[in-house]
Symmetry: C2
Subunit: 388 residues, 2 copies
């Protein structure tokens, strides 16, 4: 894949993200924001490492009301953090179960506790506490007077709307994903074990320029697959199988997340029909993704097409979501999500339906929302079920 954008971001971009967060913190009366999850630490600092795979060490970034973020991190990350735009980097020799950053955090936050200030923390939907709960309780016990407040909405609001530099990375990895899916008929044949298909897919994505393929799921079975989150079996593909592959590949820390479906040998009538309904539902979702619409509108636009085939309703919970630094991000295309779609949101359009004897089919495309509507980041799936 040629024409890769530049890696990383300018200092101006990190400064702008920080300033926006600080403006929202001011409005919410927060004197600071304590962050500890990979995407959030990276979003405000540029600190990018696979070392988060290790659960051993916690990592913290504190956004004060003004000025640059402050890193409170294990010493093993100091060299990498010093290459970011941050100046204030406080480290300890982690792991240290008796004091894994708690003294450093206490020193930093005690003045806020003394002032009875409110400090933001992400406690809401799609967030986790990425530090031991016991340590969080201990830290809170050190900080009498400090009020933890949920700041999920502040970070959510920022991260949902992408910058042009982020969109360029997303465009690039989606193009890599599209090229990889384009090559699937070359290596997924009748007789090929499904785990070999997965292995070949990963290799192809790397060859096309992906940094990594952290997410690859799928299924294949006669007349349709029945689950969409499994690792592959070693069952060889058979004529009459419907094959689905769904990938989250990455480039410079940004994900694509989309899938494709194929019939092996020949396609049965039901599968063809389900495919066409979902293709139309995707069209409806793409058409509805305009600034000012809500996620609920997108959901209903897709669901009304799906209902032509099946009105029992799906149970996967939603028909798409946000996309960026994580495989799935806020918002959700669901009846309960009234988030207003805004320019430069990057979204998946992901209708699915259950049919027959417990099969499911999923379609998925990735889009960026522009002033007049959706722009596809992915090469649109064929309107009819492709046969390999």
């Amino acid at each position: 894949m040629t024409n890769a954008p530049a890696r990383g971001f300018t200092t101006a971009e990190f400064a702008a993200r920080t300033a926006k967060a600080q403006a929202a913190m001011g409005t919410s009366g927060l004197a600071g924001l304590l962050l500890m999850t990979e995407a959030e630490v990276r979003y405000f600092t540029g600190f990018h490492t696979l070392f988060w795979q290790s659960p051993t060490r916690p990592w913290f970034v504190f956004l004060p009301a003004s000025g640059k973020p402050i890193a409170i991190i294990p010493e093993i990350g100091a060299d990498l953090m010093r290459r970011t735009w941050l100046d204030d980097i406080r480290t300890w020799a982690a792991p240290a179960p008796q004091d894994d950053g708690i003294s450093l955090l206490t020193d930093l936050l005690l003045p806020f506790a003394a002032a009875g200030a409110a400090i933001g923390l992400m406690k809401g939907h799609e967030t986790h506490l990425r530090m031991p709960l016991g340590d969080f309780e201990r830290l809170s016990g050190n900080l009498n007077g400090l009020r933890w407040e949920d700041a999920t909405d502040i970070v959510r609001g920022l991260r949902m709307v992408k910058s042009e530099a982020e969109i360029a990375k997303l465009w690039h990895i989606c193009a890599i994903g599209s090229a990889t899916f384009g090559a699937v008929p070359d290596f997924a044949k009748v007789g090929t074990p499904l785990d070999d298909v997965f292995r070949a897919f990963r290799g192809e994505a790397l060859a096309q320029g992906a940094d990594d393929v952290p997410y690859l799921v799928g299924g294949a079975d006669q007349g349709g697959y029945s689950d969409v989150i499994s690792p592959p079996s070693s069952r060889p593909l058979k004529s009459g199988d419907i094959l689905m592959l769904d990938t989250g590949a990455t480039w410079d820390g940004y994900f694509c997340d989309f899938d494709r479906n194929w019939a092996l040998g020949s396609a049965d009538d039901t599968s063809r029909q389900v495919y066409e309904v979902l293709w139309e539902a995707t069209e409806a979702g793409i058409a509805a993704a305009k600034p000012g619409a809500t996620c609920r509108d997108l959901f209903h636009a897709m669901q009304s097409v799906i209902a032509r085939f099946d009105d029992t309703g799906g149970d996967v919970g939603r028909l798409g979501h946000g996309l960026g630094m994580q495989l799935t991000e806020w918002p959700s295309h669901a009846a309960w999500d009234d988030t207003i779609i805004a320019e430069n949101m990057v979204l998946t359009i992901e209708p699915s339906l259950s049919y027959d004897r417990g099969q499911i089919m999923v379609h998925e495309e990735n889009i960026v929302v522009r002033p007049t509507g959706a722009e596809l980041l992915t090469t649109r799936a064929a309107p009819e079920l492709p046969v390999i």
Copy 2:
């Protein structure tokens, strides 16, 4: 890589794990154990999916005092969970921010709250709360009378000692890793950009039979690298570089975690000397890894060799750790860890030292502890710094 062991585990293995946990729960006076992290859910159920990449949905498993575990999970995982040994699978249409499993958990736990029972939860070192903190607070508020107690030690004690079936998987992925490192001189040449080396390494590991390469870090620079957790730059390798690659590749959900070092073109004297000290320190660590020794003993065995070169002490926090379902697991080879090494623990032996102008070098091997001492899972690194 031929002779792959069987995928998955027997029901007997899950039943044995559960029985051991229940025995420890009985001793600790716990009426149940609530688990929500990927490794723990998989350990007790066999539920294995990359879908954990998505932060959107929480997943819960409850171990009662006796009987099989109970799954409380998003409907999207029901099909896959039904293929495990579990019978009681309770689902909801996640995501549902207003009630993401909280009602189901409340129904399950209310009788325990009414009885004033203690329920275990992992709150200790190397654990996270993988659900929104706000939801945990809400759940706790529903359960007046229930006492949450830290059950980290119970799970830690079980997971640190591997079964023969687990060791077979670890042996297999370490062999794949060794074969992959063996091929590095074929694709890491003077002039090759470091990110191309990473891409080729991933492709080679897949070709050797790895399912995935979730972790790959490294560095290369003149006379030594200075950090060990970075993603690769596109800088071409130069003569005089010291190159290090460190990988966590997986097979059937089990990790290898080891590294290798090379000099490009020729090796400078300091790098050669540092390499030899670390090779000797690794030997000392391997020799010390006997049942009955402590992790502190292992640490000192390695550190006393390292001190011949440098007595300032490292700051990476430890010189190795447990290995299995995660890239890093308990215990830690550190002065503060008095865990007693036991038969069938799988460990990394990972001495490192800092030298000269801020460079660092790391060596790493993977072992399984047997009655008479360590057995290597990895093909031992060469005793002298290899030159490509």
